[in-house]
C-alpha cells in the first residue's frame, strides 16, 4: 500500500508503485503525511492532487494509501464549526498549532470527547432501513436525528439506553439481512463526491424568505431551489451571500467561502455570534456551518470545499431540515479545477477550463432540491444552493457564468453601474430572472395578501417602461415626454429608491419581513394608481411629486416593522385625501 513520489509540480504529485490504487482514493503524501487524492491512474503511476502546500517534498518520499475516498465526518457537533476545504477544524488548529496554518495538521472534524444526551426512539426488533430514526440528541436548539446509515438493512438488534454518549460510542447494533451484527455510532463518514440518496425529489415548495426585497418580491427563490449571483468585483456578491446567510428562513446554513478573502470569513465570525436568527431568536452561529478555504490556502482543498459543504447540507436535510448553502465563489472552484487540469496537461476547453466544467457544475447544483427523505418518516427536507460567480472583467459570456445559468433557476445579475451609484443590492431588475414566481405566488396569496403577483408584475412593467423611456430621453430630452410617461419615470424612481434599494448595514432595513414588503409594494402601487387617475384628470406630475404625502414614501425601509402598519395606514389615508383634494392637503 506504499508508493513512491516520482514528480512534484505545485499541487500535483505523481507516484509510482501505485498499482491497485482507486480513483479519488485519499493518500498521505511524503514524510509529513500531507493529504492528497488520486485523480489519475496510468499503469502503476498515480497522479495525486495534494490538499496542502507541497514545498519541501522530494522524489523518493513515500505515498501511503488509505483505501477510502475523500470523506467527511457527519454527526452532532457540526453546527457552529469552522472547517477548511477538507473539513479540518480551523478553530482547533488555531488552538493547537497557532495563528499560521501548519502543514500536515490532522485533527478530527468532530470532537471525540464531547458527549450528547441520547434519547432512544427505535425499539429492538424493529425493521432497520436507511433513514430510520434510532434516536435523537439535542444539538443546540436542533433535534439531531440519528438515522440508520445508508447501506445498512435488517433489524435493530439493540439500542442504547437514554444517557450521555460521545460520537464514537456505540448507540445501536443492527442485525443485517445476511446475519452480521453491525455497530452504529453517531459518527459516520460519507464520500463528498457522492450525492446522498433520497426517496424522491418533490416539486418546489415554499419560498425561501430572505428579507431582501429585490429577491423575495421580484426574483424569489424557493426552498430547494438554485440561484446564481454573478457580478464583477465590487458589485456586492459577498454582501448578498452574507445577507442570505444571516436572514434567510432556512433552518440550517452552510456557508462555503471558496477561495475568497480571509477578512470576509473574519467578518462572518465577528458578526454571526452576535446576531440573532429572526426565526428562533438564537445566535446565528448556532445554525451555521462555515467552510473557509481562503484564496491563499491550498488550491486543491478549494476544489474539495464545495463538496464538503454540500455533503454536510445533505446530511441535515436527511433529518427533514431546510438547509441553504451559499458558495462564494463557484468561479474560484472552477479555477481550481482549471489549475489542476492544467497541471495534468489535459486538453483545455473554453478559456482554458477543462472540458468537464459544465458537467461538474451541473452535478453540483443537482444536489440541491426539495425532497422526501429516505426512511419511514417520509419527511420533506430541502437543500437550496446559492452560488456566487465571479466572471472575469464582469463579462457574463464566460464559461462559468454560462454553464451555471444552464442549470440554475434564479439569476440575480449584479450590475457594476448600480454598485457605482451605491444602489445596493445591485441586482439588475431588467436582466435578472426567477423561474419560481408561480410557485411562490400561491404562498404569498395564502400567507400575506392576494395582490402580490399583480403588484409585482405592474412594478416590473413600470421599470421596463422606464428603460424604454430612458432611451427616448437620451435622444430628445425629458421635457417632450407626455405627462403619463413622466409619471412612469417618477414612479420608477420610487420603486428603485424606496423599494429596491435596501441597506444591508442599517439595523432595521437589513431584514424586511414579507408583510412589510407587501405593504411597501401596496403604497407604491396605490400611489401610482392615484397618480395615473390624477394625470388623466389634468394634473401635472410636478404637482404630484410636490405633494407632501409623496415624501412619506421615501426611506420606508428604515421604519421598524412594529410601527410599519400604523405608518402604512396613515400614509394610505393621507394619500387618499391628498389626491381627492390636492389644494387642501394637510401636512
Amino acid at each position: 500500500m506504499t508508493g513512491r513520489i516520482i514528480r512534484i509540480a505545485g499541487p500535483v504529485v505523481e507516484a509510482d508503485r501505485m498499482r491497485g490504487a482507486l480513483m479519488y482514493e485519499v493518500v498521505h503524501v511524503g514524510g509529513g503525511a500531507l493529504i492528497g487524492e488520486v485523480i489519475g491512474l496510468s499503469e502503476d503511476v498515480a497522479t495525486i492532487q495534494v490538499y496542502e502546500d507541497t514545498t519541501g517534498l522530494a522524489p523518493g518520499e513515500p505515498v501511503e494509501r488509505t483505501g477510502a475516498p475523500l470523506s467527511v465526518e457527519l454527526g452532532p457537533g457540526l453546527l457552529g464549526m469552522v472547517y477548511d476545504g477538507i473539513q479540518r477544524p480551523l478553530q482547533v488548529i488555531r488552538e493547537e498549532m497557532g495563528v499560521f496554518i501548519v502543514r500536515g495538521a490532522s485533527f478530527p472534524a468532530l470532537d471525540r470527547k464531547r458527549t450528547y444526551i441520547f434519547t432512544p426512539e427505535a425499539a429492538p426488533g424493529a425493521a432497520a432501513t436507511p433513514g430510520t430514526v434510532i434516536g435523537t440528541v439535542q444539538e443546540g436548539r436542533f433535534t439531531h436525528s440519528v438515522l440508520i446509515p445508508h447501506g445498512m438493512e435488517g433489524t435493530i438488534a439493540s439500542v442504547a439506553g437514554a444517557g450521555e454518549y460521545t460520537v464514537t460510542e456505540e448507540i445501536a447494533t443492527i442485525l443485517s439481512t445476511d446475519g452480521k451484527e453491525l455497530p452504529v455510532t453517531m459518527l459516520r463518514r460519507w464520500p463528498v463526491r457522492v450525492t446522498r440518496p433520497v426517496a424522491e425529489k418533490l416539486k418546489p415548495g415554499a419560498p425561501l424568505i430572505t428579507g431582501q426585497r429585490v429577491i423575495d418580491s421580484f426574483f424569489p427563490i424557493v426552498k430547494g431551489g438554485t440561484a446564481a449571483v454573478p457580478g464583477p468585483f465590487g458589485a456586492g456578491k459577498t454582501v448578498v451571500q452574507h445577507q442570505l446567510a444571516k436572514w434567510s428562513d432556512a433552518d440550517i446554513i452552510v456557508y462555503v467561502g471558496c477561495g475568497e478573502r480571509g477578512n470576509e470569513l473574519a467578518d462572518v465570525l465577528r458578526q454571526f455570534p452576535a446576531l440573532t436568527d429572526p426565526k428562533s431568536g438564537e445566535p446565528l452561529m448556532e445554525r451555521t456551518v462555515l467552510i473557509g478555504n481562503t484564496s491563499n490556502m491550498p488550491v486543491a482543498a478549494r476544489e474539495a470545499s464545495v463538496y464538503t459543504g454540500i455533503t454536510i447540507a445533505e446530511y441535515y436535510r436527511d433529518m427533514g431540515y431546510d438547509v441553504a448553502l451559499m458558495a462564494d465563489s463557484t468561479s474560484r472552484w472552477a479555477e481550481a479545477m482549471r489549475e489542476i487540469s492544467g497541471r495534468l496537461e489535459e486538453m483545455p476547453g473554453e478559456h482554458g477550463y477543462p472540458a468537464y466544467l459544465a458537467s461538474r457544475l451541473a452535478c453540483f447544483y443537482e444536489r440541491a432540491g426539495h425532497v422526501r427523505v429516505l426512511g419511514p418518516s417520509g419527511k420533506a427536507g430541502s437543500v437550496s444552493v446559492i452560488g456566487a460567480v465571479s466572471p472575469p472583467g464582469g463579462d457574463f459570456s464566460e464559461p462559468v457564468t454560462q454553464n451555471t445559468l444552464r442549470v440554475v433557476r434564479v439569476f440575480w445579475a449584479l450590475d457594476a453601474d448600480l454598485a457605482h451609484e451605491r444602489h445596493f443590492p445591485a441586482v439588475n431588475w431588467l436582466t435578472s430572472y426567477s423561474l419560481y414566481p408561480d410557485a411562490v405566488e400561491r404562498w404569498w396569496n395564502e400567507h400575506v395578501g392576494d395582490q402580490w403577483g399583480e403588484m409585482r408584475r405592474s412594478m416590473m412593467a413600470i421599470l421596463q417602461k422606464e428603460s424604454e423611456l430612458e432611451e427616448i430621453v437620451q435622444l430628445v430630452g425629458p421635457d417632450v415626454l407626455p405627462e403619463d410617461d413622466k409619471l412612469s419615470l417618477h414612479i420608477a424612481e420610487y420603486i428603485r429608491e424606496s423599494f429596491l434599494v435596501q441597506y444591508a448595514f442599517d439595523p432595521v432595513d437589513t431584514f424586511c419581513a414579507p408583510d412589510k414588503q407587501y405593504m411597501m409594494m401596496q403604497l407604491i402601487t396605490d400611489y401610482a394608481c392615484y397618480g395615473k387617475a390624477a394625470v388623466a384628470g389634468g394634473m401635472q406630475v410636478s404637482v404630484i411629486a410636490a405633494l407632501s404625502v409623496a415624501k412619506r414614501l421615501l426611506r420606508l425601509g428604515a421604519i421598524p416593522d412594529a410601527d410599519f402598519r400604523e405608518y402604512f395606514e396613515e400614509t394610505e389615508r393621507r394619500m387618499k385625501d391628498a389626491f381627492q383634494n390636492p389644494g387642501g392637503e394637510s401636512t
Binding site: 491563499n296 465571479s390 430628445v476 421615501l554
Partner: protein, 462 residues
Amino acid sequence: MTSPAREYTSVVRVAGPLMAVSGVGDATYGEVVEIRLPDGEKRMGEVLESRSDLAIVQVFGGTQALDTEITSVRFTGYPMRMVVSPDIIGRVFDGSGAPTDGGGPVIPGTVMDIAGSAVNPTARAYPEDCIETGISAIDGMNTLVRGQKLPIFSGAGLPHSMLAAQIARQARVLRDHEEFAIVFGAMGITNEDAQFFLDEFGDTGALEHAVLFINRADDPAIERIITPRLALTTAEYLAFDRGMHVLVILQDITSYCEALREVSAARDEVPARRGYPGYMYTDLASIFERAGRIYGRDGSITQLPIISMPDDDITHPVPDLTGYITEGQIVLSRDLHRRGIYPPIDVLPSLSRLMAGGIGENKTRKDHGAVSDQLYAAYAKGRRLESLVTVIGDEGLSESDRRYLTFATRFEREYIGQGRAGGRTITESLDAAWDLLSLFPEEELNRIPTDLIETYRGGESE
C-alpha cells in the same frame, strides 16, 4: 527538507528563465539553488518541478551566460529564506534582497521563509481602525482601514507614485501614536520612479521608518517574483514579531504578473486569459492575503499595491483578478487628470470594502456612511446628466437636474480636486461634503436619515 547541500554540473537545457538539471533525484519542490556561472558569477534559483531524474529551476538573475558544461548548481536543501532583524529598518535593497545602500548585510536575526504561511482565517482580527490619509476621496468615500489591502488602479502617465507617497507621508490613525513602518517593494519601476521614492522618503524623514526593495526596469525580470515576497516577509516580521503598524506599497503588480507569465510560457503551460497562467489568481492571493491583523498580535499590515492598467482597461486580467482579491480599489482617471484635478480619483468605480467597519459613531462620525452614499448617488446622477447634456443640450433640464450638474462639477473641483498641498482631516472632508450637499433640498437627500440631516446640514460639526 533535511537533505544536505548537493552540487551538480549536469545542466541539460536552458530556455527562457528556466534550466533543467539532470541526475538530481531528490530536489525538493521550492528548494533554493545557487548557480555558479562559467565566469564565476553567482545567481539564485528555485526548483519549480522535481522528478526522479530531473529538476526544473527558475533562475532569478536571468539565464544569460549560463552554459550546459561548466555551470554548476548547488541545491541548498532549503526553501527561499531571508534574514530579518530590527536593524533592517532604514535600509535599501535590490529586488533580490542584496543591500544597495552600502551598509553591508543585515545583522543576523531571525531567518524567515519568504513564501510565508497562510493565516488561519479564524485567527484574523477584523480590520476596523480607520486610517486618515488626508485625501477626501479616500477618507470620505473609500475609507482605508488598518490591515486592509487597497490597490491603486492607475495607468501610464498618471500620478499614482505621487499619490502613494502622499498617503505614506500623511497616513495616521485617529487617536493613536503607535510605532509604524513603511515597506516599499518595487518591481520593474523606472530609475526615475525609484529616485522619486528615495528622495521623497529621504526629504520627509520617512526613510528612518522605511525598508525599500527595488527591482528596476532594467534588472532581471524573474527577480520580480521574489521582490514582493521579500517585502512582505519583512512586513510580517515588523508587524507580527515587532508589533509595528506597517504600510506596504508594492509597485507595479503588472510587472510582477508579466514575470509570472514569462515563467509560465517557458514551461509551456496552458494559458488562461491573455497568456497569463491559470494559477495567477492563487499566486496573487498569496501576496495580497498577507495583509491583515491577527488576534493577540499588536501590529498590522496594510497593503497599497499599485497596478498599472494596460490601456486603462479595468477588465485586463491583472486589475481584474486583483479586484477580486483585494478589499476594494482606488481608481485613477485619465479624464480628471487631463482636467488638472489632483488627486484624479474616479470615485464611482472606487470602493473600500472594509469602510463600513471603520467608520461611524465612536470611530469617525455618525453621518459618515450616509454622507458617502449620498455623494455617490448624487455624483452618479450628475455624471449621467452630463452625458445627456452633451447630446441634447441643457434647455430641457429641470431645475433639479441643473442642481445635479452644478453639484457634479463642484464635487470634482472642490471635493476630489483638493490639490497637492497638505491634507484634510476626516471631519474637514465630511464638512466639505455637507457644503456641497446643501445645494439640494432635504427631500432629495434620500440616502441620509432625517435626524442626521438636521444635525449636520449646514456644515457644522459635532
